[in-house]
Symmetry: C2
């Protein structure tokens, strides 16, 4: 891909894991002639300057986005409305605004009203990341073989969509165009609900230690955190990794995809209650039937080549 700049100037607004990974990928493959970065926090700007993965770091948002052909919002969802309003007067005619948020209807609601006449708006969501955050955790390969979902509202300029599609493809992603509402429901299942559950269970376990100690229960029932950590390879460890993701980002995801998350959570709670009852009443047949059914979807993931390779190197068990 080297040498084929797809944009003249790209501005990244917010420099965390995703923003800094985009900057690194753009620079490595020379996908933009100039990459400008802005972050709200002075410390982040300083780190960005030191790490030297972009062409300019700006203290003022207006200076970062001025003359940009593409502006990508990479801040937590909750910051979007304010950022969009602040940068609107400084945007170039014909520029494209995009973002990387995990909820798309909320981005359209918050950013859409501030998009000036003659500026294109193509919301996006790279389904990639790690449990680490901040500009020092990014890397150019983050988006390789990952999906990037674009959710342009009806009537969006098709050339703007096509150009952004090529950019994500150049960074190694597979691109899918989707309706924003549909995106939010699919991601509520594949990502938001799993994260919520992981956060819940890790919190429940963290509290358990303190509670059992306070109750001065008999020695056999006291469990300390060191033991939980020690035997976490049995399944819990996977949840702790998911639950180590950025707290602000996830707070904003749940607040902004409330409807879909609550619907999925309602379904989950009912099923959990049914399994709880089956355990209490010793209904082995029900449990076994449920557990057999869940193998099918895993098989689908393996067949689709989405399974990853860690199973072979990271054996797990009860």
């Amino acid at each position: 891909m080297s040498g084929t700049a797809l944009y003249d100037r790209v501005a990244l607004v917010g420099i965390g894991l995703i923003g800094s990974s985009i900057a690194r990928a753009l620079r490595r493959d020379k996908l933009a002639r100039h990459v400008a970065c802005w972050s709200r926090r002075p410390e982040t700007r300083e780190t960005t300057r030191r790490l030297d993965f972009c062409d300019s770091v700006h203290d003022a948002l207006a200076d970062a986005v001025r003359d940009a052909d593409l502006v990508i919002l990479c801040a937590p969802l909750g910051a979007n409305a304010e950022l969009a309003a602040a940068m609107a007067p400084h945007l170039k005619k014909g520029a494209t605004i995009s973002d990387v948020g995990s909820v798309k209807q909320a981005v359209i609601r918050d950013v859409g009203p501030h998009v000036p006449e003659g500026v294109h708006f193509v919301p996006g969501h790279p389904v990639a990341g790690t449990e680490h955050s901040g500009p020092d955790s990014g890397f150019a390969e983050l988006f390789e073989r990952r999906w990037c979902i674009l959710t342009p509202p009806p009537g969006t300029d098709q050339d703007a969509v096509a150009r952004l599609t090529r950019l994500w493809q150049a960074m190694g992603s597979k691109v899918e165009i989707m309706d924003a509402k549909h995106h939010d429901r699919v991601l509520a299942i594949t990502s938001h609900l799993p994260h919520l559950i992981a956060y819940t269970i890790v919190g429940t376990v963290t509290d358990l230690e303190d509670h059992l100690k306070r109750e001065a229960a008999d020695a056999g029932t006291i469990i300390d955190r060191a033991e939980i950590v020690k035997f976490s390879a049995g399944g819990f460890r996977d949840f702790t990794r998911i639950a180590a993701s950025d707290p602000i980002m996830w707070r904003d995801i749940f607040l902004n995809n409330r409807e879909s998350v609550l619907e999925m959570l309602g379904r989950l709670s009912e099923d959990l209650a049914a399994l709880q009852r089956a355990i209490r009443w010793g209904e082995g047949d029900k449990l076994e039937a449920w557990f057999r059914r869940t193998r099918v979807i895993r098989r689908g993931i393996i067949d689709a080549g989405q399974a990853g390779t860690f199973a072979a190197t990271e054996p797990e068990k009860p």
Copy 2:
């Protein structure tokens, strides 16, 4: 370790992932002079003969355990009582019975009464495994750097415990001695509850597709399984792997560790309800505070060197 046989004859009763992995490890490092295998199912015995990872495969349980110095029960928990009763008359004086079950009080309850005078009983639980099952999925390295927990009842012969400890260490495990009740509570948290949650969420999602189709909901809300599979890298994929584990084994774990699992599940449900309420009422502070707290325990796991290495190769995100 080669050449230092710790037992003359080891009998493995049940040849799935764990049993066949033990057989392979024993043979590779010559830890027993003879490894005898038995399985209830003729097809499993046939596969075991074909794969040739042990010295003898027996159609009759009595023939497998006769003259064994060590008998390890590797069948699902629910089969233990019957197997222990059937093999008891054929056990050699001074032999040791052990097992690999994920619940230890139930094993003591089911096997204990059948242990003949002069035979030692040292329950064990290797905290290792994969989501695959059956004799063809085992491998000799499965137990390396994994914990094996032994829960000998009070009064157990210390030499028998020490010898079995050396065997697990020779297979690469770190060994911990623990009270059976304590084991069951710790594993309820670190393994059983995470598996139950993973099974639940994967089942909920599997049902969702059918339900939405039956409701003939508007097109934007229809979600098909292919989409869930496609975007599963956002977190759901980890759950599907956990929920692909052996259904019979897990049925028996939940039925046999009912009390601890229900207690932990009760705590989890309360916390889930609290987070659900925080999302519904838009209480961002509560969500953020919860998500910050859960990072601490992950840090503990990384510091303890239990984090594994897949995070680096398998980036995940919303």
